[in-house]
């Protein structure tokens, strides 16, 4: 068991013929993910990866032909919002957007539309999802995690890999790892994932990796206090980040006194979450 993706995931890749798209499609196939289709407008009818995967002109055609139920998006930022709308309109339930650099007003329109449609988006600007041993959707290196009972939620990419690696080194396995992305407006937040992990019988503990900017960690702390029975361990990046500067991720910024690491750590600790002082400390706190 796991959340969001498992062995029944039938994946389509939007932007499959681009460099990133084709590279990661091969990685996902090698991992065992059921990649059933690709979409690149204007290249419908072609096949990629030695004839393993058919390419379609639109998401709708791809879904009708292959029964894909999940989409992963690798298209450039300026076309990414349209790709998300297209996937939602074609009835895809789970849309994972890897693309970094989507304008924030595009994301506000996307989120408003998706909420009305009832479709779930993970990301954008995220590494995607990994359910070790079953399915990988996105770019998380499959070899750094093993199957187990720790759920991982993170706003970051390589920092997440660092944590997965530390867990593996300590012989701890992962149920599902969800990269929710580093943008100020995303599709799935900490609370969504916490509640899914709470329901998932195979998840026993959760690691929450946050960073400066916004108040999602504070909201997560309230949720943990009210609803979580499973233990949560946290880590917050950016204690030393100067205010007013965007630390790489579009959403990682302390503005007007809001979004400070210290406030997030305090909120989490106040509801009994153990917060690690650095990532290598996480396994011992679990």
């Amino acid at each position: 068991m796991s959340i969001l993706i498992d062995s029944s995931t039938r994946l389509l890749v939007q932007g499959i013929t681009g460099n990133e798209g084709i590279f990661h499609t091969k990685q996902m196939l090698d991992y065992g993910t059921a990649v059933v289709a690709g979409v690149t407008p204007g290249k419908g009818g072609e096949w990629v990866l030695a004839g393993k995967i058919p390419v379609f002109d639109s998401v709708r055609i791809a879904v009708n032909a292959t029964g894909a139920n999940t989409s992963v998006i690798f298209v450039p930022a300026r076309f990414a919002a349209d790709a998300i709308f297209e996937a939602a309109d074609a009835g895809v339930n789970l849309i994972v957007c890897i693309t970094e650099g989507i304008p924030v007003q595009d994301m506000m329109r996307v989120r408003s539309y998706l909420d009305q449609k009832g479709a779930r988006l993970v990301g954008p600007n995220c590494p995607g999802l990994l359910t070790p041993g079953e399915s990988k959707v996105g770019i998380i290196p499959g070899n750094i995690a093993v199957a187990g009972s720790v759920g991982v939620i993170s706003r970051s990419g390589t920092l997440t890999y660092e944590v997965l690696y530390a867990l593996t080194q300590n012989e701890m396995g992962v149920s599902t790892c969800v990269g929710i992305g580093g943008d100020p407006i995303n599709g799935t937040n900490f609370i969504d994932c916490l509640s899914m992990f709470e329901e998932d019988p195979n998840t026993e503990k959760v690691v929450l990796i946050g960073e400066i900017g916004g108040t999602d960690e504070e909201r997560a702390a309230e949720f943990i206090n009210g609803y979580m029975t499973k233990p949560v361990v946290g880590f917050i990046a950016g204690r030393t980040a100067p205010p007013g500067k965007r630390m790489g991720h579009a959403g990682a910024i302390v503005e007007g006194g809001s979004g400070l690491a210290a406030d997030k750590i305090e909120s989490l600790e106040a509801v009994g979450v153990k917060v690690a002082s650095h990532p290598e400390e996480i396994p011992s706190l679990l």
Binding site: Q27, G101, Q105, I144, L159, G248, H278
Partner: protein
């Protein structure tokens, strides 16, 4: 990216928002000329991208073109919070009866734009939010529907604006919404929007911040970028597609991934050091990129050690190691280097770097400890 006051107000004017007559000047004589054309009394305003211009003496009232010239000379010799004043705005002075705040920004928590207004205009809105939060009216805008007329009326009523002004206020609010939307702004603000003694509404000051990720849609606005607000090293880094922020410490950081880069800074601090920069070299980490990053880091004379923290994910450790090796050949230095390389093909990567003059570390904590020690001993040897 921030726009100057004069740029913001000119942009607002395109959307029918009334602004004072005036123009920007790059010299005192030009300021005098503009004043002569305008007639009456003038406000001379420093165009710098920081708050608190007024308190610093960067906004002055002039009663004659000669006085305008004198004040422009004084203001343009100023340095406000570290920024040189290169231009002044010469505006006709308004007879102000009341000051209102009107702005739109992104509400992250609600995932929607929010229009905010207050009858307590002319001061920093964050100060109003702290001291008299009840004076701020907030209306969330559906990003697919845009600002509706009734919402603008609700705001006008909420700030106790006399009914006579509602229609004009509504037009200004709609104009501000469109200016915000069309420019992909993250902030569009009129502060103050004044009621003049002859009963007009006038946007006396304006501010816009644009979404850097949306600049590809706005080449005309991108040209307005003022490089004074950025450290030269940050401008240089952007050329190479590096995400770099200069800090004041002594340990340079070279990391792949933004979250891991922040974490690396934090752990340096945790073990008693101070990071000299934030740097995300991204996924690829070609030798060219690594070399450029290394040059930028070493240009800072405060840097006494460099910590490389590379997690080999999809980017393999051996590829990154080769990049680092050729970068080290290109950039000669006696500053000590500490490297931690883990993840995919880390073993092969370490072999490649075995002959390089680098201090190796296995864990993040170990790397931070070694970098802090190396910086301390290098600082000692340089003295």
């Amino acid at each position: 990216m921030k726009l100057h006051e004069y740029q913001s107000k000119q942009f607002f004017a395109r959307y029918g928002i009334p602004i004072p007559k005036g123009r920007v000047a790059a010299s005192a004589s030009e300021a005098k000329q503009i004043a002569e054309e305008l007639g009456g009394r003038f406000v001379i305003k420093a165009q710098v991208l920081v708050g608190g211009r007024g308190k610093a003496g960067g906004i002055r009232l002039a009663k004659s073109p000669t006085e305008a010239e004198d004040l422009a000379t004084q203001i343009m010799a100023m340095n406000i919070k570290g920024l040189p004043v290169r231009k002044v705005l010469v505006d006709e002075a308004a007879n102000i009866k009341e000051e209102i705040y009107l702005g739109i920004t992104n509400d992250r928590g609600e995932r929607k734009p929010v229009m905010m207004s207050s009858s307590a205009g002319g001061v920093d809105i964050e100060q109003v939010a702290r001291e008299t939060p009840e004076k701020i009216i907030r209306v969330h805008i559906d990003p697919l529907l845009g600002l509706r007329d009734y919402q603008a009326r609700d705001i006008a009523a909420g700030i106790d604006l006399p009914r006579d002004y509602w229609r004009t206020f509504g037009e200004i609010a709609r104009g501000l919404w469109l200016a915000y939307k069309d420019s992909d702004a993250t902030l569009a603000e009129i502060n103050p929007l004044v009621i003049t003694s002859d009963k007009r509404l006038l946007a006396v000051d304006g501010k816009m911040v644009l979404d850097d990720n949306a600049l590809f849609r706005h080449p005309d606005l991108t040209e307005m970028r003022d490089l004074d607000v950025e450290a030269p090293s940050e401008i240089e880094a952007r050329k190479y597609g590096l995400s770099f922020i200069k800090l004041d410490g002594s340990i340079g950081c070279m990391v792949n991934g933004a979250g891991l880069a922040m974490t690396t800074m934090d752990i340096i601090k945790l073990f008693g050091g101070d990071p000299a920069n934030f740097l995300d070299i991204g996924g690829g980490a070609s030798s060219e990129k690594v070399a450029a990053a290394l040059r930028i880091i070493l240009n800072d004379p405060n840097v006494k050690a460099v910590l490389f923290n590379i997690f080999g994910g999809i980017t393999r450790g051996d590829e990154v190691a080769r990049g680092i090796l050729s970068a080290l050949e290109a950039v000669k230095t006696d500053v000590p280097m500490v490297i931690r390389l883990v993840g995919t093909n880390a073993e092969e990567g370490r072999k490649i770097l075995a002959d390089a003059d680098m201090i190796t570390a296995d864990t993040l904590a170990d790397a931070a400890r070694k970098a802090v020690a190396a910086a301390a001993s290098h600082a000692g040897s340089v003295k």
